[in-house]
């Protein structure tokens, strides 16, 4: 029984990790684009970016996920654009998560970029450096240093947030654990697999915490 449960939980956890990874790969660069939008000197673009960020951060991810998964099916004459089955649920989740996390990341980027004192930029300018040199050699590392702590918080939240994809029945690890309560693989009424999923989250987040701690330490040599 134990091995059956672990096998099923592992399978669910792989979906969890996939959603986690795809969200990071999509949201880290998209967030940077959104943050540039929010800092743009072109007012309509700045307004648009900030409004989108406000809406996405101001509403639950669960609601956004439901809207992205179900609403297109009602509106489009051709029916739901999502492929049927688990792949469609995964794709819809990935889109919702990427948009949601890009907005959170954009605010972190913005804080990091605007947090570097203008004096740093000006000191580079009066020394005859180009804009590119100033970014690469002076401001970039200072931004990264500012971004890492809030970013690690957000990424650890993301690990846990992936469980929200269960609302559209994406088969991540909580879904897999819950299945043993409802009945699956010939078992039902099992409570412990659901609790056991917590161990996965704890171990994975423990690993991430160590990783981010290491990065922060690496950047500790300057203030």
């Amino acid at each position: 029984m134990f091995l059956t449960v672990i096998g099923a939980l592992n399978e669910g956890f792989i979906q969890t990790l996939k959603l986690f990874a795809v969200t990071l790969i999509g949201a880290l660069p998209l967030g940077l684009v959104v943050s540039f939008g929010s800092m743009s000197r072109f007012t309509p673009l700045r307004w648009l970016s900030r409004t989108v960020v406000w809406i996405i951060r101001g509403t639950p991810l669960m609601l956004q996920l439901i809207i992205i998964f179900y609403i297109p099916g009602y509106l489009l004459p051709s029916g739901s654009p999502w492929p049927s089955g688990e792949s469609g649920r995964f794709l819809a989740s990935a889109v919702a998560f990427i948009i949601n996390y890009a907005c959170y990341f954009s605010e972190i980027y913005r804080g990091g970029i605007q947090g570097v004192p203008v004096g740093q930029q000006e000191a580079g300018e009066v020394l005859g450096m180009t804009k590119g040199q100033i970014f690469r050699h002076i401001t970039l590392l200072q931004m990264i240093k500012r971004i890492v702590p809030p970013m690690s918080n957000e990424i650890i939240t993301l690990v846990k947030d992936t469980s929200i994809a269960r609302i559209i029945s994406m088969q991540e690890i909580i879904w897999a654990g819950y299945a043993f309560l409802k009945g699956s693989h010939g078992y039902s009424g099992l409570l412990w697999p659901l609790f056991f999923t917590g161990i996965y989250y704890l171990l994975f987040n423990g690993l991430l915490t160590l990783l981010f701690g290491w990065v922060e330490k690496k950047l500790d040599y300057f203030r």
Binding site: Q120, E125, R223
Partner: protein
């Protein structure tokens, strides 16, 4: 002959006029002190010289050639501004050292980046970079900071940081070195070491413009003094005359606030 000539500089921030009809000249090897109360436009003037602000009117000439003319956009091209800036060095009130680099790297970084533009950089890379290192070490030694070359700014006192910043500005051998209240951010007991360095630069005939609230220092170290108030030059002349025998009533009032304490 004057190395620097500033003519009729005017600068607005929105509707407020911050500089008005600023004209002065500076001879090679001379030190000019600028004094004046808070908000009189001293920092803005230095920032205009360093192309950190763009004056609305006026011209700036270095070594006889016009490097900025508000009326001539050709003198304001971004690509050339970068090179023209190098006529000036700037020491900021708040140091603005690069925190992620050691004292030595702070001094050498800009020179290393500039040297990449040399046509012979590829062939002589090693020798060029080595030479820059040596010069950086020498500059730090001149500032009395040989022992601190490998320290990061956060490991240095304010006075040491400001001396690194002076070395950093000197590394590019500017024609004119500008100081914006170099000791205002320092604890009183640390101002002396920085003033001493500036004094020795003056003795070596470094061309300098020093914005300062240290009146005795301005009197003893500068050749000329300019007193600014409300964005205009109220009085200028030999340092001793302006500070000890000001002609203008506004200068007298300003200076009396310093002699009281």
């Amino acid at each position: 002959m004057s190395i620097l000539e500033v003519h009729n500089i005017e600068k607005h921030f929105g509707p407020t006029r911050v500089l008005e009809d600023i004209s002065f000249s500076l001879d090679q090897g001379q030190a000019l002190a600028i004094i004046g109360s808070s908000g009189s436009g001293k920092t803005t003037l230095l920032r205009c010289l360093n192309f950190l602000e763009k004056p609305d009117r006026g011209t700036i000439s270095v070594g006889g050639s016009v490097i900025f003319d508000a009326a001539d956009p050709a003198t304001q091209r971004e690509s050339e501004v970068r090179k023209k800036r190098l006529h000036f060095g700037m020491v900021f009130q708040s140091f603005n050292l690069f925190p992620q680099y050691t004292a030595l790297k702070n001094v050498t970084l800009a020179k290393e980046l500039l040297s990449q533009e040399r046509p012979d950089f590829k062939q002589n890379k090693k020798a060029i970079l080595e030479q820059i290192q040596i010069e950086g070490q020498e500059l730090l030694a001149k500032m009395g900071l040989s022992e601190r070359a490998n320290h990061y700014p956060s490991q240095l006192s304010g006075g040491q940081q400001q001396r690194v910043a002076i070395a950093r500005a000197l590394a590019l051998k500017p024609d004119i070195l500008c100081f914006d209240e170099p000791t205002s951010a320092l604890d009183p007991e640390l101002t002396g070491e920085v003033l001493k360095v500036i004094r020795s630069l003056a003795e070596q005939k470094t061309t300098m413009i020093i914005v300062t609230h240290e009146m005795a220092f301005a009197r003893d170290v500068a050749d000329d003094v300019i007193f600014m108030d409300g964005g205009v030059i109220v009085e200028k002349g030999p340092a001793r005359d302006v500070i000890e025998h000001p002609r203008e009533e506004r200068t007298r009032q300003f200076l009396s606030r310093y002699s009281e304490n």
